[in-house]
Amino acid sequence: MSLWVDQYRPRSLEDLHYHHELSTRLRSLASLASSGDFPHMLFYGPSGAGKKTRITCTLKKLFGPGVEKLKIDQRVFLSPSRRKLEVNIVQSNFHIEITPSEAGNYDRVVIQELLKEIAQTQQVDLNAKQRFKVVIINEADSLSRDAQAALRRTMEKFMSNMRIILCANSTSRLIAPIKSRCLLMRVAAPNAEDMQAVMQHVSKRVGFDLPPDVASKIIDDSSGNLRKAILCLEALKMQSPDLSGVLTIAKPDWETYCHKVADLIISEQSPARIMEVRQKFYELLSHCIPPATILKTVADRVVERVDDAIKADVMHWAAVYEVRMRIGSKKIYHLEAWVVKVMSLYKHFFYGMDLTEFD
């Protein structure tokens, strides 16, 4: 059987537990769609808030249960330098879902070729409820500028055949022309009550009673990520089936590891220690933990443990180096620069030195 999070995922707009207003709007949009009045959409919000769930629900409303029959295809594109790019495509009869960021720097090629191809053909299925097909673009915020530019014209030109649904974590990295062509749908992270309700629902479906304090503990820990909360609930349930006594929520492996790094930074400041930390960063990076997440987790932990006086500085430099990390290519350099900075700050503070040099 699947994990609970997948098993008890709502399948229609009616089943959704929170953001009812949004659901209503989506419902009305979908019902209007037959008159051809369905816009391009941009769903954005933090992960684990329910963007994808809402998209699938909307699709189901649009096209009926046929959209749930998914198949995966692999397409090969040729980059300008004749390199082969493999892109996985998830599709049903009515929609297609792509993740152009899989192609890295060549996402533009994918957008140009694939989208045009889809856009230039009409819906073949005569029984389809809608005349148009839907293209879902995942991780739209990691699209390169070129790719976004390539998307602009396509979105207008082929409106009759196709609608695009973008799915992103934030709109900040999308260019304005794209944003203006889409109906923006913000899927905010659920609040504590919403999450509580969802978790109670899940536990009821599974068939056990969830003590509210356990639920709130999990909610505290998952910071608005419902996926994380439900996965956590399942893990906890597996750990101690009766959910009583003192429960410790097991942190994911990488998070514990990040905390360990933070402790290393606090406990000693020396070149040897920096190299140790570097090693650990490499370990995390190579195991596919995104550098921004690493920095955030480690910085949070460091801030927890240092004196109030330098908390602001630590966070300031974390922010500075996160920006640099996004611009630069070798993430470890910036992570390490931050670590050295923090170590130096910490040590200077420890000896009561003047910190003005760090401004």
């Binding site: 699947s2 692999q74 993740t99 990488w254 400041q269 070149p271 195991h287 290519s329 900075k341």
Partner: protein, 996 residues
């Protein structure tokens, strides 16, 4: 008094000479100020700064005239007062480490000077002669006092701004403040006109002495000064100047030696005395020490070892100095070492050696003193060395004579013998041909290799008869061919030809100028020619494409085999085939034996590596050639040329023949410049580069490398060097915190590392712009600075990385990055498979699902063993995960869940059970990869065979599975495929087992 108009700004030296003529002796002291500032910059080539400076100086001279007119009337005592503090300030200031400090230190002295001059009344009076030594000093003092001062002090500012390379600063200061030396010693300065700063700045000390000395000497100097300008004006054609001047200097010096250390001597040869005076006055002044004009070859016969870092010279400079004066510099102290020059932080092992051998040690000043005082040209040598040297000289002469003889003989032979156009006048030949070795003993270096070659050639007919079965003395007789390898210009081709001739062979040479394609090598060589051609042309011997006769006494020299390039397709292969059946000896010559292209030759040829000969081996030969050409070149210059050319004899000869066109002699510095000009571009390995960049010398205050030089290091390997720097920058013991203690040291260290790290971070941003979508390649220099030079400038110093062979680590980034890419690819595979069930993206899968799945699909194997297999496989099928994806999930764990830790806990039996169970059952597949459909099964089997004990069973299972998959497809194809696959697989299995 010189009228101010004379000093009006006018370009170049003309103004100066005019100035000279016009000015009477009293104002003459101020001239050099402008003169030197006008000349010096040109000399040093710092033109940018010099332009403005010169004009300012010239503009200022007019002011100075006034000043002098007013001021020279000052009483003597105050002047004495003025100069003394100033002088000491100069000394003490230059001793300070940093230029900033220097400024600070000189400032008070100026104010002191101010005070004293201010307090003086200024009656107008004519210039007394004894004021002379100080008069040039005073304008400086006066400058600050006068309302018109800004211009002048700005000049000083310029000088100070230029000061960071301390040496220069010192020179500028010296020359502008005490220019008289230049005037009094024009001969010397002319003679060394092209010299670098040491020689020039040596003049600087002169005034110091003159000031400290008695009036008598001052007067004498005045006399000198008077005569000097005239002399200078006279001597214009440079060549003649040099000669006359030299003679004059020599005369002077011989006189000096005769007299001993009298005052007059000090005057003529003031430098070392200046040093003494300076020492007496206070501590020595690092950064401003100058090299005394020692006599030529004054260090002849002495051997030196330098250790530690000296305060005012970099190591290279010090070595240069020693060599310039004929000394020998060796790396390690031994009992034969005469002196060890100790600097700061001398190496402990060397110190031990000093103690052990009881060697004499010198500090920097003593070293300079030695140069200044020791008598030159072997006068101070003991009999033994003298004899040895004489012997050497004789040998050189004899060799030169012999050369001449041989040449003559050859000429005669050519004239009488052929009578044809063959006779070539040797003087029209290139030196490299003219002085090519004519006999075995002429070959420099590689004696044993040449002997081996000779022996092999001699034995070749016998070896051929024995069908190359008898190894012979060197094991060479098993081969039909040899491969000579070595760097260019060390006599490979020459030796090959010579050996062949001496062994009685007629060499045929094919080099890169001949086409050497497969066809040509096969047909053109005609070595086994049995065609009618030879009968028709008669005379039993065949001729080949090169046009020479092939006999059994022919030897083929394939020169530049590694140069067989695109046009010579298949050439090496054909050559190799030829070697295998050759009936004549073949000598192949290449530069790089390791070249990929030469792989086929490795097994068929005997490798004969030629190494670069030592300088001592080449020296005598070059010396005799020089003698023969009537060139006067000291041995130390030759040594330097050889070192510069990296023992490339050909290049040294070429350099000399070029020099010969212009002059008959070569000084040390000219030689240095020449060898620098002809410097070979050596490519250092990233390891060497990194330890140079991070090492203590590149950024030390005595280093002379410019920013450009440092950047050059980056550009030697711009992709690797930044990675190496990043990897190793934390391993140094920064020189900047050497003198700190305790917590401050740690704090400072962290600060430095912070600066370095943020600079590296900057570098990455620049790199992003270079390699990003916009490709701003013009930012490369900026990248060099940000990623390499700036970080190194903070944390340079000794460290584990310095010196040791494996103390520096290879950048992890490369490995880690490719690991990241690999795992990231695997993760996207997992994500795609799970996509049908899971909405999350890759990061969500990694951060939430994998930790959540871990207890379901991995931990049971650890805790329950094989009984959990069913449950796990069920769970995996739910998410369409394959066995490979399971591996990925395990591999992606960190910390507690690190793959090694986890896999260690799973027993081998469980693993096998899991694998077998998984493979025996059917699994839902979300999709087929396009690439999988073609050839996958074979590959899979081949990969997994070595992993499993029951390889055979396993293979069958795989087959079943693949059959199931393929049954849906074309039946005929499958049959065909299966047949092929089974047979192949069995083969593979057998192999796999055999390996075990």
């Amino acid at each position: 008094m010189a009228p101010p108009k004379n000093a009006k700004p006018a370009p170049g030296g003309r103004a100066i000479t005019a100035f000279f003529k016009a000015s009477p002796n009293s104002s003459q002291t101020s001239q050099p100020c402008s003169q030197s500032s006008a000349l010096e910059p040109n000399k040093r080539g710092m033109l940018g700064a010099s332009q403005s400076k010169t004009s300012i100086a010239q503009a200022s001279t007019s002011k100075m005239q006034d000043v002098i007119m007013v001021d020279d009337s000052d009483g003597e005592p105050p002047i004495q007062q003025v100069t003394k503090p100033r002088q000491s300030a100069l000394l003490s200031s230059s001793e300070d480490e940093s230029p900033q400090k220097k400024v600070v230190a000189t400032a008070p002295s100026r104010s002191a000077a101010h005070g004293s001059t201010n307090s003086k009344p200024k009656p107008r009076a004519s210039l007394p002669a004894k004021m002379e030594p100080d008069s040039e000093e005073r304008p400086r003092v006066q400058k600050r006092k006068k309302p018109s001062a800004p211009i002048l002090s700005s000049e000083d500012e310029v000088a100070r701004k230029l000061s960071p390379p301390k040496k220069k600063a010192a020179v500028i200061n010296g020359s502008s403040s005490k220019p008289k030396a230049r005037a009094s010693l024009p001969a010397k300065s002319r003679a060394v006109d092209d010299d670098d700063f040491e020689m020039v700045s040596s003049d600087e000390d002169a005034p110091i002495i003159s000031k400290t000395k008695s009036k008598a000497s001052a007067r004498k100097e005045l006399v000198d000064d008077d005569s000097e300008p005239a002399q200078k004006a006279k001597v214009k054609p440079r060549a003649s100047v040099q000669k006359t001047v030299k003679r004059k200097v020599e005369d002077d010096e011989s006189k000096v030696i005769g007299k001993g250390k009298t005052e007059t001597q000090e005057e003529k040869k003031p430098n070392w005395a200046a040093m003494k005076a300076a020492k007496a006055r206070g501590p020595v002044a690092p950064g401003s020490k100058t090299v005394p004009d020692g006599e030529d070859n004054c260090l002849l016969g002495l051997s030196f070892v330098f250790t530690g870092e000296m305060s005012s010279f970099s190591r290279d400079e010090a070595i240069d100095i020693a060599k310039r004066f004929g000394g020998r510099v060796v790396g390690q102290p031994s009992s034969k070492t005469n002196y060890v020059v100790l600097g700061e932080d001398a190496g402990p092992s060397k110190l031990k050696a000093i103690e052990k051998h009881g060697l004499k040690t010198l500090n920097e000043d003593q070293f300079l003193n030695l140069i200044a005082t020791r008598k030159g040209s072997g006068k101070a040598l003991d009999e033994k060395t003298k004899k040895k040297m004489e012997k050497e000289q004789d040998a050189i002469k004899a060799a030169a004579k012999e050369m001449e003889k041989i040449e003559k003989k050859a000429m005669e032979e050519a004239d009488s013998g052929a009578g044809s156009s063959k006779a070539v006048d040797p003087s029209t030949q290139l030196w490299t041909t003219r002085y090519a070795p004519k006999s075995m003993k002429d070959i420099c270096g590689n004696k044993s290799a040449v002997e081996k070659l000779e022996l092999w050639l001699k034995d070749w007919p016998q070896s051929y008869k024995a069908n190359f079965k008898k190894p012979g003395k060197n094991g060479m007789n098993m081969y039909r061919a040899v491969l000579i390898s070595g760097s260019p210009g060390i006599g490979k081709t020459t030796s090959a030809h010579l050996c062949a001739k001496l062994a009685g062979y007629t060499p045929i040479e094919l080099n890169a100028s001949d086409t050497r394609s497969k066809k040509l090598v096969e047909n053109g060589m005609n070595i086994n020619n049995k065609s009618l051609d030879s009968f028709i042309t008669g005379g039993g011997s065949a001729s080949n494409s090169v046009g020479s006769m092939i006999t059994d006494r022919t030897c083929l020299i394939m020169d530049e085999v590694d140069g067989m390039s695109a046009g010579d397709r298949g050439g090496v292969g054909a050559l190799n085939a030829l070697i295998k059946k050759s009936k004549i000896p073949i000598i192949c010559i290449a530069n790089d034996r390791q070249a990929q292209k030469l792989k086929p030759l490795i097994s068929t040829t005997f490798s004969l590596p030629f190494s670069k000969p030592q300088a001592s081996m080449i020296r005598s030969r070059i010396l005799s050639i020089a003698y023969r050409e009537k060139m006067k070149i000291p041995a130390n210059v030759i040594d330097q040329l050889i070192a510069g050319a990296q023992s490339d004899i050909r290049q040294v000869l070429n350099i000399l023949s070029t020099v010969k066109l212009q002059s008959d002699s070569l000084t040390f510095d000219e030689g240095k410049e020449l060898s620098k000009m002809n410097e070979k571009y050596t490519i250092m390995s990233p390891f060497d580069l990194t330890s140079k960049i991070l090492g203590p010398y590149l950024f030390s205050h005595t280093a002379r490398e410019t920013l450009g030089d440092k950047m050059e290091l980056y550009f030697q390997d711009h992709s690797f060097v930044p990675l190496f720097i990043q990897e190793n920058y934390l391993r140094t013991e920064p020189a900047k915190i050497r003198n700190e203690q305790g917590p401050e040291k740690e704090l400072k260290r962290l600060m430095l590392m912070d600066q370095a790290a943020s600079s590296i971070s900057d570098g990455d941003l620049v790199d992003g712009m270079i390699h990003g979508p916009e490709q701003h390649w013009s930012l490369m220099p900026l990248h060099a600075v940000c990623s390499t030079i700036r970080p190194a400038s903070f944390i340079y110093g000794t460290g584990a990385h310095y010196g040791g062979p494996n103390s520096m680590s290879f950048p992890q980034w490369l490995g880690q990055n490719s690991k990241q890419n690999k795992l990231s690819r695997q993760l996207s595979d997992v994500q795609v498979r799970m996509r049908l069930k899971v909405s999350g993206d890759k990061n969500e899968i990694r951060q939430s699902y994998i930790p959540a799945l871990h207890p379901h699909v991995v931990r049971p194997l650890v805790e329950e063993g094989s009984s959990a297999v069913d449950e796990i496989i069920h769970r995996m099928d739910e998410y369409y995960l394959s066995k490979e994806d399971w591996d990925t999930i395990v591999e992606l764990g960190v910390g507690e869940q690190k793959d090694e830790l986890v896999l260690k806990k799973v027993s081998a039996a469980t693993k096998t059970a899991f694998t077998r169970k998984y493979n025996s059952s059917e699994h839902p597949i979300p999709f087929h990869k396009a690439t999988d459909l073609g050839k996958a099964p074979k590959k899979l089997a081949a990969e997994q065979v070595p992993d499993l004990e029951e390889a055979f069973d396993f293979d069958e299972i795989v087959e079943d599975a693949s059959d199931d998959e393929k049954n849906d497809q074309d039946a005929e194809d499958i049959k065909h495929d299966r047949l092929i696959q089974t047979s192949k697989k069995k083969g593979a299995t057998v192999k796999g087992k055999a390996k075990k």
